[in-house]
Symmetry: C2
Subunit: 457 residues, 2 copies
């Protein structure tokens, strides 16, 4: 095995195709349903929101889909991203495991999100769209799309969850710098926002509400605006596979191959990005590889949710998707890992979990921040709060490998840096964070309200 | 010429030696003088503050000095850093110039500072030093040294300029995360600090005061603590030459060579890091290459200062250095580019400027922030306020090339990202920043007070 610490690729090694896992899945995901009729929807139902090329990708059964040259050209601004061997972390853990991480924090917006923001902006531009709407929680996605829209001359409206809008002025400023208009959600610009504000003028907002607002703005724009989503959907997950595809080449250079692949899961795009290209070998060749999605214990849809149809937003405007969910009205605690506070998981990851092809783990925030600080002290990168969930699981697996004396190779995706999340670390150091075990009632608060279709076993 | 956008190097291409420009200078720098006796000082005078290996490097006439394997091992955490062709910026400027930049913001602390922090911590560790003191202004240097000390098991005391301590809590937190103790300077822990506080209990502090405090703490520690400086000194500048040395290899890969090399100048280490390895060709082969140091118009020591002996700190504890200075009591405006608010320039850069081997340029902050936003919009990296000074000069040169129809190749060092400086951009967007032309009296406020030795022509 090579002893390289930093494994890099040349610009011409950026993948030329995305990997579409749908082609390899034996159990295909169930179709999305119309929110009104509850009947399976077709491409025409999605056309008001998305450009046709993305709708095609959403349902494509092609194994590989070509990355347009113009998209690869923008990817070159930060891709290929580096992969590192975490030798210092290994030493501190005194583990026989070899730990590698792919680092997506080198992107302009500081996370993996631009990998899909760029093609989404590109396909919209190609189809003559000049305006996009989107939502953002902590701001990672909003800033990624603002960057991408700036590249392709598209105006962007961002609905930013109010509590983040107030707590993270610099994320907002970053979006402004790239030319986006940012609104504190709920707003009075939409029916959905207005009705929330009528009930609670001080609503802190939520990702589900912000999605409702962004979708409504596009759907009622008379065709002048389309909508863009930063996770959950099949095409979004597919765009992220550049991460895993690059890492396979880097693993080859390091003369290694992972036994375990780990990433945090909010909607699923980060996890899919690193793991799907490895699952390809599991699905087609039966390769023995564990892929673990890590969620916060305060929003445990994978480990404690239900597999059924549910809405993607709070108001109920989106198609119904077959997924693991806590219910679209579930309101998780205001943990700092804002990107992981989403009630459902992507259809593809949900189906794979249901079929036993991937695993899930839920971890409390104190363990995660402790892992994040250990990582900063050993590997010197301060991880985003979301990313600390992956690191906490890596440490669990590395400790297990030590107990078992097993020479496991672990790969995880360090999806972003925490430079805009320092308040979270401040709270952690100040002892302001606590772990809270969800009660039965809290856990079922959203599920009990659901009237959406169940899925038969 | 290659059309690569991102030019990278493998880990084994990290330089094995630093370049020591002293070896190639025809006019050697004048010696430092003892602050009391005003006589040239020897190594033994510096021994209370620095480990012997760094003192040797400070006066070495060797052209190349080997980088210890342990230092290269830590460098591997982020080095080699990428070099980019700024194709988008070129397009917006519609210039025939080819613009390249080396990006040092990928380091753990987000700037070029760890390049010298790591060897300084290493040599101290090797000589049995367990405690270091230092100062920091905006926090770039303090966080770099905190990272490096953590790597080599050294305790660190940081004296942070009070106004930054209050305005940049996250920089402080980053230092704390890496285990450093950070104090708001002036403190009551030193005689220097106490006397400043007696005069003005609300003193916002300055880099000169913070240096006085850090030096005093080391000098009065009875040998238990040494002191570390992040710029100005010869050994510090030499450590930074890894930047330029890597960029030469990268330029070769791109089949290019710069006509103009540009970097901002605070103390001089950033400028030296990128330019000295190119000056090697100018000094030894007469190669025609322009190296331009860019300073803020509010602290114009290179363009409007005096070349004479002066102290490095406000109180007058350090040796007297022959340099371009505005006087050690000069207090520049509180511009956001905190790293450029220093009254003097390094001895080596000062001598080179005096000898006409490098150039200097002073630019007001509004032009710099405008350049920074243009850079963020085209190249997608949000530069540190210090770095925007280099970019503003790049734009000037690219526009000149356009006027002249000259196909110049320009290289600059993007020394750091602005993720911890968003308040500066907020002020810029809010229209709160103004340019102020220094009056004759303001400009001479520090120089008029100087009683330090002049240098004969």
């Amino acid at each position: 095995m090579s002893d390289l610490r930093k494994i890099i690729l040349e610009e011409n090694e950026i993948p030329e195709k995305w990997y579409n896992i749908q082609a390899d899945m034996k159990n295909k995901p169930l179709p999305p349903l119309h929110p009104g009729t509850k009947e399976p929807i077709g491409p025409e139902d999605l056309a008001p929101l998305f450009p046709m090329e993305l709708i095609k990708q959403e349902v494509s059964q092609e194994q590989w889909i070509e990355i347009p040259e113009e998209v690869r050209e923008v990817y070159k601004m930060w891709r290929p991203t580096p992969m590192y061997r975490a030798t210092n972390l290994e030493k501190v853990l005194d583990t026989p495991a070899k730990i590698y991480y792919k680092y997506e924090g080198v992107s302009p917006a500081g996370s993996h999100k631009p990998n899909t923001a760029v093609p989404q902006a590109y396909y919209n531009m190609k189809e003559g769209v000049h305006k996009l709407t989107t939502e953002t929680g902590a701001g990672q996605w909003g800033s990624a799309l603002a960057f991408a829209c700036e590249k392709f001359g598209i105006d962007l409206e961002v609905y930013m969850v109010r509590i983040s809008y107030e707590q993270k002025p610099y994320r907002k400023l970053l979006m402004n710098t790239w030319g986006a208009d940012v609104y504190s959600s709920p707003t009075d610009k939409t029916q959905g926002g207005k009705s929330i504000l009528e009930q609670d003028p001080n609503s802190p907002g939520s990702l589900g509400i912000a999605i409702s607002e962004a979708v409504e703005r596009a759907a009622t724009s008379g065709g002048t605006k389309k909508y863009s989503l930063g996770s959950v959907l099949n095409h979004v997950l597919m765009h992220q596979t550049v991460i895993g595809l690059e890492s396979i080449k880097q693993m080859e250079k390091a003369d290694a191959f992972p036994d375990i692949v780990i990433a945090p899961l909010g909607g699923g795009s980060n996890f899919a990005g690193i793991s799907f290209p490895y699952l390809h070998y599991k699905l087609t060749e039966g390769k023995d590889i564990r892929c673990i999605a890590v969620e916060p214990a305060s929003c445990p849809k994978l480990t404690k949710g239900e597999f059924r149809y549910d809405f993607g937003d709070t108001v109920g405007l989106t198609p119904l998707l077959p997924m693991y969910t806590l219910g679209h009205t579930f309101v998780p605690e205001a943990i700092h890992a804002g990107g992981l506070r989403y009630h459902g998981a992507s259809v593809l990851v949900s189906q794979l979990l249901k079929d036993g092809l991937v695993e899930a783990s839920a971890i409390h925030q104190l363990e995660c921040f402790k892992a994040g600080v250990m990582f900063a002290n050993t590997e010197a990168i301060l991880p985003a709060p979301e990313a600390t969930h992956g690191i906490a699981q890596v440490i669990r697996e590395a400790n297990k490998a030590k107990e078992e004396g097993a020479e496991k190779t672990i790969l995880f995706n360090l999806c972003g840096h925490g430079h805009f999340d320092m308040a979270a670390y401040q709270d952690y150091f100040d002892g302001k964070l606590e772990d809270h075990e969800l009660t039965y009632d809290e856990l079922h608060s959203g599920l009990n309200e659901l009237t959406t279709p169940k899925i038969e076993e």
